[in-house]
């Protein structure tokens, strides 16, 4: 019964989303402020009913209601409670319900925090969001209904959740990632609403910025967590595979990163207006395209959802009008958006332009490599190919190095033009310090590698220049310490974000260059050397978990005769599905991880054992966290809060351009 109620709630949410499109649109036509304002109240309604539907499905999972087909195929009575809840978004139907819930959350937040917008701008933004939401609900209800009952013959026991997904990663990774993916619909809606109302001025950029930063921070966190999860859970020790599904989230991230910078330039200086709009459109379009690629099964991926071409066609039917329509609107409205503002080659605008060019080109080459197999298959009539990681590394790495080089100087740049002395002051000393530090890192970490020295030099130059800029901002004051804490939050946000890039880059280059990886044949008592470490295997014993049995190995890792860690990697067999899972054990040290996983059992108690030494691998995710924190911090900057507070107290919003002309 509760399941049917949940289903019904989602149907109501769908209808409310439809009303949220229609009523304010009529309001816009008749200039009826009340109808326009209905968009916000409806947004709350959509959220409440989606949440009810979502809770109903959670209830079905928690109470093991296997008459619901989706629950039966993804849960099991023996599944621990937290995984019963997160199993909801472990496959296509449920994860799309989560997607619509996230969409309704963003729409509601926009309704809540957009009071200072003009009435019709606000209505337009909410109409755009509701229209997207309506499409999502239709797709959910018509092609991917998670509430469907498998009556009358339903199983007494569920098929269980894929063991790889029975993990903390599943609990946090998809919700964060979806907050990012779907959050990009907000700047998209702002852009479309402005094009639609012909109100594409600087205030548009100002309103979009905090939303874009927040969505981007979620996306950053989602991708970072995904990488960390893949590392410890898949048992391969890899943290990025250039897999189609990973790329599907990475391309929107690259575009969104370009967007947050270009929005800054548009807001502060009124430059790149139409380009920024285009980025906002592409950011969300690529996140939709990613959803299509992942869910339609057109691409081969290690973690594609179950394949269903019909669904793919449905998403495509949604994708084409949304992307095509917005580009048409862009073409019709944005062509006369010539900015009259100029800037010098040394101005901050130039640095942001460089950032945008590099990021969009990298997005393009990643997308090309991801879609190339599809095009190839279509052109050659069915020849299957795959594009290996060497392609992505070859094209992506140089672009990122150029981006880091650009970043070094960017912190010191000023809008319009930068004094040459401001850019060059102290750089000689910094170059020397960074070079010494970079060589130091390389020496400490192991055999000297030019790649590490080069990238570490770039990273230290970025950090030193960030420090210089902070110092320059505080030194003028009599009490530098209090001044340090009085900078606008946006400054700290930038410092965190860019420092995060430096940290991640350092982690990546060290891990890639110095990782030691060995697959070993080990009988109990065998000893082997991996890098600077000695590894001794003591065989396995049987253990029992809540819903699995496992062989648990004991591996001692020592260095120079001294035992550093004893690790217990497991090979699990989950009872319900009889599937085999590798549970790696990782010893985390400040300078790197020791990663041990069991391969397969061989004769006489011997095992295939995988041992990886991964120097500085944690830096990759630590940097990602810093970047995301920067994004979150930026939205609390006073500049974004002030207008909201002011308008609630006083002043009718300024009339939009249309209202003035009309």
């Amino acid at each position: 019964m509760i399941v049917e109620l949940g289903h019904f709630c989602v149907v109501i949410a769908c209808l409310l989303a439809f009303l949220q499109v229609v009523l304010p649109s009529i309001g816009l036509k008749q200039n009826n402020a009340q109808l326009m304002a209905s968009a916000s109240s409806l947004a709350y309604g959509v959220f409440v009913f989606t949440l009810l539907g979502f809770l109903a499905l959670i209830h079905a999972f928690v109470t093991d209601d296997f008459s619901v087909g989706y629950v039966a195929s993804h849960s099991n009575t023996r599944l621990p409670l937290q995984f019963k809840v997160s199993a909801l978004w472990s496959a296509h139907e449920g994860s799309f319900l989560l997607w619509t819930l996230v969409m309704s959350i963003w729409t509601m937040m926009v309704a809540r925090f957009s009071a200072p917008l003009t009435t019709d701008m606000r209505a337009r933004v909410l109409i755009c969001l509701a229209a997207l939401g309506f499409g999502f609900y239709l797709f959910l209800l018509l092609t991917s209904n998670p509430f469907e009952r498998a009556l009358p013959f339903y199983p007494a026991e569920g098929a269980d959740l894929n063991p790889l997904l029975q993990d903390f990663g599943l609990i946090v990774h998809p919700p964060l990632l979806y907050m990012g993916y779907v959050g990009l619909s907000v700047p998209f809606a702002f852009a479309i609403a402005s094009l639609w109302g012909n109100t594409l001025d600087v205030s548009w950029a100002r309103w979009s910025r905090p939303w874009t930063n927040l969505a981007w921070a979620f996306l950053t966190m989602g991708i970072t967590l995904g990488s960390w999860w893949a590392y410890y859970e898949l048992g391969w020790g890899g943290w990025w595979f250039w897999d189609a599904v990973e790329n599907a989230s990475f391309v929107p991230w690259l575009i969104a990163t370009a967007l947050i910078h270009s929005l800054a330039a548009t807001e502060k200086r009124g430059v790149f207006k139409s380009w920024t709009v285009l980025l906002a459109i592409f950011g969300f379009s690529f996140s939709l395209l990613g959803a299509f690629l992942v869910r339609s099964g057109v691409l081969t991926s290690v973690h594609a959802f179950a394949v269903d071409p019909e669904r793919g066609a449905a998403i495509l039917m949604f994708l084409v009008p949304v992307i095509g329509g917005s580009l048409l609107l862009y073409g019709a409205r944005a062509w006369d958006l010539r900015s009259r503002v100029t800037f010098k080659r040394s101005g901050r605008e130039s640095f942001i332009l460089g950032n945008n060019v590099l990021l969009t080109v990298s997005a393009a080459v990643v997308l090309l490599g991801t879609l190339y197999p599809l095009g190839y298959e279509a052109l050659t009539g069915g020849d299957k190919i795959s594009i290996g990681p060497p392609y992505f590394n070859a094209v992506f790495v140089p672009l990122m190095l150029a981006l880091m080089a650009l970043m070094i100087l960017s912190h010191r740049s000023r809008w319009w033009a930068t004094d040459r002395s401001l850019l060059t002051a102290g750089q000689g000393v910094f170059t020397a310090i960074a070079a010494v530090a970079a060589i130091g890192v390389s020496v400490v970490m192991g055999p000297i590698k030019l790649w590490i020295i080069g990238v570490a030099w770039l990273a230290f130059m970025i950090l030193l220049n960030l420090g210089y800029e902070l110092h320059r901002r505080v030194r003028l004051k009599s009490n530098p310490f209090s001044r340090l804490f009085n900078q606008p939050l946006a400054v700290y946000a930038m410092v965190l974000g860019h420092a995060g890039i430096a940290v991640t880059a350092l982690g990546i280059v060290t891990t890639v260059m110095l990782s030691e990886e060995a697959d070993l044949f080990m009988a109990p008592g065998d000893r082997a050397e991996v890098g600077a470490y000695d590894v001794q295997f003591y065989g396995t014993n049987n253990i029992e978990g809540p819903n699995y049995v496992a062989d648990r190995g004991r591996v001692e890792v020592s260095r120079a005769g001294e035992i550093i860690a004893t690790l217990f990697p497991e090979k699990r067999r989950y009872l319900a599905s009889q599937s085999i899972m590798t549970e790696a054990d990782i010893h985390v040290r400040s300078l790197g991880d020791i990663y041990v996983a069991l391969g397969e059992p061989l004769e006489n108690g011997a095992w295939a054992v995988r041992v990886h030494i991964k120097p500085l691998v944690r830096f990759i995710w630590f940097g990602g966290i810093l970047i995301a924190l920067g994004g979150v911090l930026s939205i609390f900057d006073r500049r974004y809060r002030a207008p909201v507070a002011r308008s609630s107290r006083q002043a009718p919003p300024a009339p939009s351009r249309e209202a003035v002309h009309g």
């Binding site: 894929n162 048992g235 099964g297 081969t300 290690v302 973690h303 594609a304 179950a306 394949v307 080109v361 080459v365 090309l368 490599g369 190339y372 190839y376 069915g382 020849d383 299957k384 190919i385 795959s386 594009i387 290996g388 060497p390 392609y391 070859a394 094209v395 697959d519 070993l520 044949f521 599905s577 599937s579 085999i580 899972m581 590798t582 996983a597 391969g599 397969e600 061989l602 004769e603 295939a608 995988r610």
Partner: protein, 153 residues
């Protein structure tokens, strides 16, 4: 009109456009070159035994792991097994290392590696099905091309 005789603003713009076009062309050349040298074609068992795989080229090939064909060597991680399309075409794959958890007899696998002169495929990487319901599209195609599904007579 000579370049020097143009208005500085126009000349700058022309140079900018030329630079952009040149840079873009160069970048595109590099990208396509990188792309072409990293294409891994997929071959079905029929194509492998028919000798369609270029010797020494890095390609992908796959099929179903034949029951009872898995042989391991003592004291090392070397493993050899036969993959087939269940319709008579089969070839041997050799691999040294840890096989994926889902590697099993009767399951579909895709291997990346090179074919040797004597028809043995030396794999550098083996991918198996991701879950019970998922079949690598290449393997499904290889099977479809040569036989009817035995479950649907």
């Amino acid at each position: 009109m000579k370049l020097g005789a143009m208005k500085p603003q126009r000349r700058n713009r022309l140079l900018l456009i030329l630079g952009l076009v040149g840079g873009l062309g160069l970048a595109l050349t590099f990208v396509l070159k990188a792309l072409n040298s990293n294409i891994n074609l997929f071959y079905t068992p029929v194509q492998v035994i028919a000798g369609e795989v270029p010797m020494g080229a890095r390609v992908r090939a796959g099929g179903m792991v034949e029951a009872g064909s898995i042989r391991r060597s003592d004291g090392s991680l070397e493993v050899a097994f036969i993959v087939s399309d269940l319709a008579g075409a089969a070839f041997e794959i050799r691999y040294t290392g840890i096989l994926p958890d889902l590697f099993r007899e009767g399951q579909g696998v895709v291997a990346t590696g090179t074919l040797s002169q004597d028809g043995v495929f030396f794999a550098e990487e083996i991918l198996a099905k991701h879950d019970e319901k998922y079949m690598p599209p290449e393997v499904a195609m290889a099977l479809d091309a040569t036989r009817q599904d035995p479950l649907q007579p």
